[in-house]
Amino acid sequence: MTIETLFEIQFPAKAERLCLIRDLVKRTAEEAGCCSELSDRIVLAVNEACMNVIQHAYQGDELGVIMLEMLNNEGKLHFRLVDYAKPIDLSSVKPRNLDDLRPGGLGTHFINEIMDECDMGHLEEGKGNYLEMIKKIS
């Protein structure tokens, strides 16, 4: 059993940085063996997770830092996203009812649809929050 670390990146919690992160995730997913369609979906989910950290955990504070780690665990891609914001209310993290049309409330739905497993929690000692996502790719 081998877990391969693909990368771990820290970047400022700014919308302008997301494009770069998408490229990084897309290329790395394709190198790990994903087809273009699958890597596009994975990119969408990871992007939404980063957006949520920027908008909700850091509430737009651009001094915030996001850590994203990507691993390949024998055909399962693991993503670990960490922020150092105040501990969030985990019970508030849920999509809107899709039938109740309004702008917003889709990000968590996209993540849940695309990823096979998701786990969100607080870091020790109130240091921040994490989101772990797993996607089987082969």
Partner: protein, 110 residues
């Protein structure tokens, strides 16, 4: 992302091009709401959209709802594969009026 706007007799076209993400979806939103404030029906052309995230989709939903309230027409035209797969994931492909071309819209609008 690039936004270009074109005024037709009966409606306005907003063409979005490139990646519609959190860094620029507020601009898309402003353009969309701007046209609707001017009391014009609106077609948003998504043919050249290579990526759209939930914030871009939210701008479209807001446009759709605002148009409805004002009894204006709102539609999407030439939706790219990249944009369509996101709309489908949000189950909005059944909600938005979607047209292959301006001709198709004009025919149905008659």
């Amino acid at each position: 992302m690039n936004i270009s706007t074109e005024d037709k007799e009966k409606y306005t076209i907003i063409e979005l091009e490139g990646e519609v993400d959190l860094s620029c979806s507020p601009d898309a939103r402003n353009s969309i709401l701007g046209v609707l404030e001017g009391d014009k029906s609106l077609l948003v052309d998504l043919a050249k959209v290579s990526y759209i995230d939930s914030s871009g989709v939210a701008s479209l939903v807001e446009g759709y709802q605002t148009a409805k309230k004002q009894s204006l027409k709102f539609g999407l035209v030439g939706v790219s594969d990249a944009a369509m797969s996101v709309l489908k994931l949000a189950r909005l492909d059944q909600v938005f009026p979607i047209f292959d071309s301006y001709e198709e819209y004009e025919k149905k609008d008659d």
